[in-house]
Symmetry: C2
Subunit: 685 residues, 2 copies
């Protein structure tokens, strides 16, 4: 069994006729636009046969044309809660809110601006709704009431606000206990396709949406190791020196990233190696020999000095960004020109993937993108292009790796509808740690992946707390692009860049190494969760409500999340020494102590421990700690048994094998029972 | 001479045919919409004869229809800077920026969201542009470049950014030294009227715009005294107790404001006195006897329990807000129903004016307004209504006071185009002091007034610094709506509401009183500046660049402002003990010491002194300190002479009298030379 064998992410998935999707219902309202997420998709839907067939749409959309565009109406029942709409960093429950889904790089206000606005929502009544539009649609989620329709009897109190069932008082104002509507206004359109995804529960609705999108990606194992993005000022030699230092200092790292200045011109981009990197092929080879992958930062706006500029001219928008052209990634010609050059100049040398920056319309902060009124040869205007740009940019890069049958994993700054198949993780310049943690829980509703990347920190505590949530996220990324030394050598940025190393740095390094080692131990478990994403459409990181929609206690929880099927993570931010954790249905064991807990608990969180809970009855496979996933020792597993009795475990592996473990242990408590897994059979160690 | 005589603000202004406005040019592009700021205006333009006649438009707009709406293009010359677009709290120079002018109550991001978005800008080339639209238009201010147009030779360096002339390095990225365009995209419209206001300088362009709007308002003198908004929890007796306490403690105050709970129902509003106020007529009478005016908080969304609800039903939008109806203030019927009830129930009792809240589309924070797709009987949709709602709401209230020939001064939470004539001051829940100060400078470009109201403070220093900038603003407002005691009695909010008075409160009260006394001394000067606004369209508070557009040093200054023609205010925020001040052209005298300064200086700012500079050669009239403007002593003036030689002063008074003072003093330095002004003639004191 060759575990390195590449499993094609989705390309092998058969294209299924829509009739083959029991439980997915398409409603065509009015005359839909030509350019939409569905009409421009790269990935075909995959079968939803693993989910129960449902023959009746759980909800029926209505629509009407107005002078302003098109208005879609969907009903909401009393206390039916709404989640999703993409990376909504400022809010969790969407019912009660208005969101204009505008691609924007600075989503500091809860208005719908987002790196990844996704016109898809799910509700606690167990269905999902996709509005197939590339317009900046406005969603009014159960917060508008037509004049003169009386409330249900006794429903209002005081100033018109009522306590909804089971939610904290902060939600009182939203009148959740009334029947209402989701109203979606799509500018300019004269119609739209609406897809309804049946459940029966919220979780299956999300799964169906993800499978319809083409199902989840399987990142290569190295993608789930540690990532480190080096200073943008580094030369080739400095990159190699850093990578050697990591090995010498036993810092786990699978991927090294380069930031803007690896190019001759970065704003806009040339995609040509600068003289900082005189022999990139040798560098990549050197890194590969040390088991590092190389990832390159870039964006899509192409500078006149780039060799592909002239070819792209005819296949680009009519407005420039930073003096560069905007490729029309809706045109195959633009994608091919762009992909061919990238393959030849980077990927053929061994570059493992990209960080696709600046595709998120950061246009309110100066002049960082193209106007909404831009015209593209494909017929898209700037607004449509913004909504699709991150997706079609990922398509372009994907075409390289899929052609080469080579796995990739990377970063992207913008995504949108039907994003599940993309092995790209979102990130943001916003840097509030609590918000970043919530991003992990929220992204699971919308087929997107999110990393709370570590850039800098206020103090050692902040550094470790941030690293902990990074280690338990889809991508374990330290982004040192503006510091010369790893942050544990000097937290203060200016001092770091003057090479003023903290005298006690080895202590902090050691604490950070512990956190990174935790990540390395969890790689098989997280990888298995991704394979489940690929097989079943179930996101590897998700909010608790997705697994427990019947439990009102989970409805508001966005500061804890499921990691795979058997772990709940409850991260802690600097300044917090204990926290409240909710454990739904049944027993959960403290990952660190093995102690059994249930329900609402208060846990202490000493700095070295991020609260993690393992479902009772779980056999958790942990890898040996290694410096990278190429190390054969990274395949050695130890089973941790979290059970007072029988226990089971399921591990999905990269070649498609599903390995199940069972344990019929007697009555014992606690963790610390270690059993070596040999040849994929559980043995007493 | 009866100085109390009411000068009708603008109602008496003759309606001038457009041909009567030399220097104002109207371009009709395509087919404009029916509902616009100009088409729905209340106030007619007034004559611009006092300004130089200019017969050629300084700039010519072009337009084209697209599927998305209408696109207007105007040229920009190299280094031509753009200001305006309403209350843009996050930025000053608009060139280089993209702004979507969306009415929004939480403008935390520099995207164009604003309480008062105004589709009017002015440039340093000396003209103004009004785009007559009620749509959320997007302004791209010289930051977009068509593909393939070469830059002027040698204009780009490095990554494509160039130093503009005379501006700090932070502006380098904007390529100001290139010719460019302002691009304005108006959604949905098939055309638009564009008005161009000639200069010759930026200042005259603003004046012309304000005169075209109907010219500035003249607030009653009492409106320029101190304002205090009492706790929303107060009863009638508690209000009277507070007002008596102010007199007893010698706290200047002209206006007391009531907050939401004066009504039986506030969200939405009944406009009916609650049982907290059993005899409002007696209360108003009581307050009036003590020379207080009463101002009432409200918003326009009308609750079913309101006596006017049924009448408004047919003249309101199709969606509710907080269970109330949204009056269609574009319909005379709605305005009349609304105004009549307000007159009868409040104004006839002696209420002096209103604080018009919640008209600024705070809809992203829950459910605080009507959807953009709303339909109104007037034919407006919700987007148009949002852009006009603050204006037409002010019209409604103005109709009461104009009918009664009674002056008013109040607050409004939203405004827009052609707002100059309204005696209403904008405010915000955002509470950054530095930003609030800049609001004073910025609002002068757009015909709007702004108060940096004082709500609470981090500490004593913060309280005093905030009170200082309040005292030197269009409305000197302390907003104690959520505290039971004045902030100087206890800064900490919870303790304040538990009546835990600070043991040393009298010291702080005394310092605050000093600041308020400064305001009272300046009432005649500020009032005179308002009269000049009314006569000439010149805003009483404005950025330095408006008076000195030829001086590049003024181009970026938004933390100082002109107050009237002869004072520069340079406020200080807590934590700042000194600051840099720029004094343009000629000599300026420190208000406090009389010392002469010029150019860029560093000034110390002890806590009791906000830096104020008086133009050399100025006779500054200061009133006697009084507790309210009804006090006859408030008409007593002392002349402060800031000059080393000759000096002049001009005082405009409420009855239209223009009093000029001259002084041919010899050579003396410094302030402290006081001369009593008797019968409006300067005398040696």
């Amino acid at each position: 069994m060759n575990r390195r064998q590449f499993l094609a992410t989705t390309a092998a998935a058969p294209l299924l006729a829509e009739a083959r999707h029991p439980g997915i219902f398409k409603f065509t309202l009015g005359t839909p636009e030509q350019i939409t997420p569905v009409s421009t998709r790269r990935y075909a839907p995959v079968s939803t046969d693993s989910l129960p067939g449902i023959s009746t749409a759980p909800v029926t959309p209505k629509g009407r044309i107005s002078k302003r565009g098109y208005l879609v109406t969907l009903p909401l029942a009393p206390n039916e809660l709404v989640y999703g709409l993409g990376l909504q960093l400022q809010s969790f429950i969407q019912r009660g809110l208005k969101k204009k889904l505008r691609v924007n790089a600075d989503p500091k206000v809860d208005s719908g601006d987002s790196h990844a606005p996704v016109p898809f929502y799910v509700t606690t009544r167990g269905y999902g709704v996709l509005i197939d539009t590339a317009r900046y649609a406005t969603f009014y989620c159960g917060n508008k009431k037509r004049k003169g329709i009386p409330d249900e009897a006794g429903s209002r109190t005081g100033d018109g606000f009522v306590s909804p069932v089971g939610l904290p008082a902060a939600y009182n104002r939203y009148n959740f206990n009334q029947p209402s509507e989701v109203l979606i206004e799509i500018p300019e359109a004269q119609g739209v396709d609406v897809y309804i995804f049946a459940g029966p529960s919220l979780r299956e609705a999300v799964q169906r949406y993800n499978l319809f999108s083409g199902s989840g990606p399987i990142p290569p194992r190295w993608g789930l190791g540690m990532w480190y993005r080096a200073s943008q000022d580094f030369t080739q030699d400095e990159v190699l020196k850093l990578s050697a230092e990591f090995r010498q200092r036993r810092i786990p790292c699978d991927v090294i990233g380069l930031e803007p200045k690896w190019q001759t011109h970065a704003y806009s981009c040339s995609y040509v190696w600068s003289d900082r990197f005189p022999d990139p092929a040798a560098m990549v080879e050197n890194l590969a020999a040390d088991h590092y992958r190389l990832n390159l930062w870039e964006h899509a706006f192409t500078h006149p000095s780039s060799p592909i500029y002239k070819d792209l001219l005819a296949h680009s928008g009519d407005y420039e960004v930073w003096g560069g052209v905007v490729p029309d990634f809706l045109q195959p010609e633009a994608r091919e020109i762009f992909a061919d050059f990238h393959e030849k100049t980077h990927v053929a040398l061994g570059v493992s993937g990209y960080k696709l920056d600046e595709c998120d319309n950061s246009d309110f902060t100066g002049n960082w993108s193209f106007p909404e009124f831009s015209a593209f040869p494909s017929g898209a205007d700037g607004e449509q292009m913004h909504s699709l740009f991150g997706l079609r940019y990922q398509d372009t890069i994907q075409s390289i790796f899929e052609k080469r049958k080579q796995p990739t994993y990377g970063l992207v700054r913008s995504s949108g509808a039907l994003a599940a198949p993309y092995p790209y993780v979102l990130y943001s310049d916003l840097y509030d740690h609590a918000e970043f943690i919530k991003g992990i829980a929220k992204s699971g509703f919308s087929g997107i992946l999110w990393t709370p990347e570590l850039r800098d920190a206020k103090n050692e505590e902040d550094l470790i707390r941030r690293l902990q949530s990074v280690a338990l996220s889809p991508m374990a990324l330290i982004n040192g692009w503006y510091i010369r030394n790893p942050p544990w050598k000097q937290i203060e940025r200016a001092a770091n860049n003057k090479d003023q190393i903290d005298p006690y740095w080895e202590q902090l390094e050691s604490r950070c190494r512990e956190v990174m080692n935790l990540r390395m131990r969890l790689v098989p478990y997280i990888h298995s969760a991704f394979i489940r994403y690929h097989r079943d459409g179930l996101p590897p990181f998700r909010a608790l409500v997705m697994d427990y929609p019947q439990d009102p206690q989970t409805w508001t929880i966005d500061d804890q999340y499921m990691m795979g099927d058997n772990i709940i993570v409850a991260p802690v931010v600097a300044g917090q020494h204990e926290r409240s954790v909710y454990l739904p249905e049944g027993d959960w064991h403290d990952y660190w102590t093995g102690y059994r807990h249930s329900g609402r608990i208060q846990v202490r969180a000493p700095l070295e421990r991020i609260p993690i809970f393992v479902r009772g009855g779980t056999i958790l496979p942990l890898a040996d700690i290694t410096l990278h996933t190429d190390d054969p020792a990274s395949w050695n597993l130890t089973a941790m048994i979290y059970s007072d009795g029988a226990a089971t475990g399921t591990l999905y592996e990269e070649d498609g094998t599903e390995v199940r473990y069972t344990w019929d242990g007697g009555n014992f408590r606690g963790a610390g029972k270690r059993y070596v897994i040999t040849d994929r059979k559980l043995m007493r160690g």
